[in-house]
Symmetry: C2
Subunit: 317 residues, 2 copies
């Protein structure tokens, strides 16, 4: 009989196909597990697959007395209470770096699409406004990439890939992270100093309790009227209300957002703004990064059922 | 009295402001010059400023008996009949390289926006379809940049900048151009061979009589069902009817287009397609590239009126 894996979050079936070949999947479809499966079925659950951003605290863990491993699909694990997991001797795994290039690429895509105003440009051509020589203030020339100061917040694998890509665009690159690294980019000791210097703030920090709303009204004001925010990390890092205000009164010029505070919801006040480019949390969504993330999930699940440590484990808090 | 310059094409007034400080501008607003100015006014015209893509043949030149220099705003001069100009001892100037980074950046922007489907993604979030968990086949994961084979057609200044940027995205880069250069990219001796190899064809060739419709149905078929075309050169290089057909029947996956055969018109059959990202010929439109192009124009005009050779001259055909 195949080992059982609870699918705790809502995932498309296609993303689960490779796991279904090896394990018996109990798929909640994102609903509370006890609404979908009997207590007897859940009592035997030893491991679950979850989206790292889905809240998973002590109370939820205690619903599964035999739970031994929480495996996150993707690099993030910010929804998992690591202390609670450690206290219960539950291992936590993820897919480190598997989607780094894909996420860095969506950061670049959003920055370029926002500064060059691609959705507006696309609509300007499609609508016939271009053919009719209609004025479009949004289509006025903007600053380009050469010489642009791009501040990368967070210098993990994704931040480094963003920095390397920006350098190829002849931009200046600076960064703030907890540690200074041996990298050819200017280091800033605070996020405030980075925001003062930057015209684009690329948010690539690993989200957690310590990063909640750190990109706030003050940071946005420091970016200034020609400044842009690109967020491909987690919605929680940005004070979304402050962002809406800064975009509305043009404290900053624009934003490119792949993540939001309450996904899959983006507030109406935000989606009504013309100077933002939106993506529905597709940073990690390329064919190759799904394969790479699935490889990590499979390796974690197989190791767990063989009684071995998770090869892609998260260090406990 | 200030030297006179005829503004032959339609340009926004803001783009002409620096020239107006130095010269007396006779602005046609893009209309036939003789409809706007008297024969006496035009009889004395010695130089004109034009958009390089605007048709300017022998007949048009002969309307200005004293014409000594045609100065193109931008890098292109494909609209100017160079043989006719040479026969009349009319110098032709342009702005070489001034907008190369800006144009290379729009190529990258369109490639990323097309392969990651940014206009569709933006609308998916704005419309509330994401929040409502509506299916969106266009949002399915696509191949990403690492390992993607990008074929650059034309290895001038723009092509080189595109290639360098693509390399930073961990893509493989190949190219076809008349000459093989000492560059770290795979050279293909024909456009056909490049298209066979590529999944993205970046058209960065200098347009002219020899490049008319060279990207035709055969080349598109060679790109294949996962292939993309990005054109930031001139609309004339692509057989637009063949492109519409290839996009409609999914011979190729998509396209990113900044240029069109008959600007500012993009055919309805093209603009109706969901798998294309459009821009209204904004490749060179950044603040810095306008300044750089204007520097070239000013240098060319000043030299002409001082009786010197154009510092940014086009070699005669």
């Amino acid at each position: 009989m195949a080992d059982k894996v609870l699918i705790y979050s809502r995932f498309p079936k296609t993303m689960m196909a490779r796991f279904a070949e090896r394990f018996e999947l109990l798929d909640t479809g994102g609903k509370p597990a006890h609404e979908v499966f009997s207590a007897a079925e859940l009592g035997g659950i030893r491991t679950m697959l979850t989206a790292g951003g889905s809240p998973l605290g002590a109370e939820a863990m205690d619903l599964f007395p035999k739970l031994g491993a929480i495996v996150c699909y993707g690099t993030g694990y910010d929804g998992v209470d690591l202390k609670a997991a450690a206290a219960r001797k539950i291992a936590v795994g993820h897919s480190p770096g598997a989607n780094a290039a894909s996420v860095a690429d969506i950061a670049m895509t959003l920055m370029l699409a926002t500064t060059r105003r691609i959705p507006v440009a696309d609509q300007y051509v499609r609508s016939g406004d271009w053919a009719a020589s209609k004025q479009s203030p949004m289509m006025r020339p903007q600053a380009g990439m050469p010489g642009r100061r791009i501040g990368v917040y967070g210098m993990g694998e994704i931040g480094r890939k963003i920095a390397a890509r920006c350098a190829a665009f002849e931009s200046e690159v600076g960064y703030f992270s907890r540690s200074k690294y041996d990298l050819p980019y200017q280091y800033f000791p605070t996020l405030e100093a980075l925001a003062d210097w930057s015209s684009v703030l690329m948010i690539a920090v690993r989200a957690g309790a310590g990063t909640q709303h750190v990109v706030n009204a003050d940071i946005l004001k420091r970016l200034g009227a020609n400044g842009y925010v690109v967020n491909i990390s987690r919605g929680s890092v940005v004070d979304e209300k402050a962002l809406v205000a800064a975009l509305t009164d043009q404290t900053i010029a624009g934003a490119g957002l792949d993540v939001f505070e309450k996904e899959p919801h983006a507030p109406d006040a935000l989606t009504a703004l013309p100077n933002v480019v939106f993506a529905p949390h597709i940073g990690g969504h390329t064919l190759e990064s799904h394969v790479a993330m699935q490889n990590c999930v499979l390796a974690n699940l197989s190791a767990f059922f063989e009684g071995k440590p998770l090869p892609y484990g998260v260090k406990s808090a």
